[in-house]
Subunit: 168 residues, 2 copies
């Protein structure tokens, strides 16, 4: 289910791109600079909007790379505008497009580590469930919430995107 | 991975219980009624805090029940205090404790529907990935964000809970 869940993350990053478009349109309709959104945050000691978007992107990118045993491309977090954030999102969506189900055949048993774990490691299975998936949704939902809190006209359908509904 | 993901939801509901405890302590430290939190929201047309908690609970409960082919217990959304919300969370955690991995052997191919889909259905696999998981994280993250926005002293470690880190 690693591949399927990463495809869902890719789908949601596509939705995030649409929220960014809606934020731009909202700013234009109210005659303010759309890039004001870049620095907005819900609490003074939480990440601002840009960092929430960057973190959602990085969480998906790094999960795919680590679980497939590949080196992820680095992105230096220099985005200052909504257009630059949209480009970042699209870059990560394109990166995720490059994976297929078989890339994750050994995902569950890979050994994952990162600097802040001070030498400790997680199995790929634990890392994905306990760290990557909750962090991805944390940051993408905070990005959504910052826009909603500031008046952008998006709703739950824009969050979920189209569902695979079919006739019974 | 249905069972494992539902166990992760159960873990996060346990974390939510701790955020509710932290919200109560914060209110007491500032001498205001903790139950003020129940009605707070990030936007006037978003769910208030209580409804975010109830929705996170229901999303996990209904996902487990539907994917296991069981009838879920109903909870009437009457909570008016943080203590009642904590009891609701603990009820759902206990309900999720009653499932085991084999309950989800047929989950992927179950036919799932709900009234708002107007007669359409989803496979269990699609429902879980596209609807249940994103909705669960949407509501639990909004509950977290409402508390953070209003000063409660919780952070990313309280969101994630303890990780299964081990020696390399």
């Amino acid at each position: 289910m690693y591949y399927e869940t990463l495809c869902q993350m890719k789908k949601m990053l596509g939705q995030l791109d649409k929220w960014l478009e809606a934020a731009t349109a909202y700013a234009q309709s109210k005659s303010f600079d759309p890039n004001v959104f870049v620095g907005l945050r819900l609490a003074p000691d939480q990440f601002a909007f840009a960092r929430q978007v960057q973190s959602a992107c990085d969480t998906a990118k790094l999960a795919a790379a680590r679980l497939a045993g590949k080196d992820a491309p680095t992105h230096p977090d220099t985005e200052q505008t909504l257009e630059e954030l949209r480009a970042r999102v699209r870059t990560v969506v394109a990166y995720l497009e490059g994976f297929s189900a078989k890339d994750f055949n050994a995902a569950a048993t890979r050994v994952i580590t990162q600097p802040r774990w001070e030498g400790k490691v997680m199995s790929g299975a634990d890392y994905f469930l306990e760290h990557a998936v909750p962090n991805f949704f944390f940051h993408i939902t905070h990005a959504y919430a910052i826009l909603r809190h500031n008046g952008v006209n998006i709703g739950k359908r824009d969050y979920l995107g189209p569902l695979t509904l079919r006739a019974p």
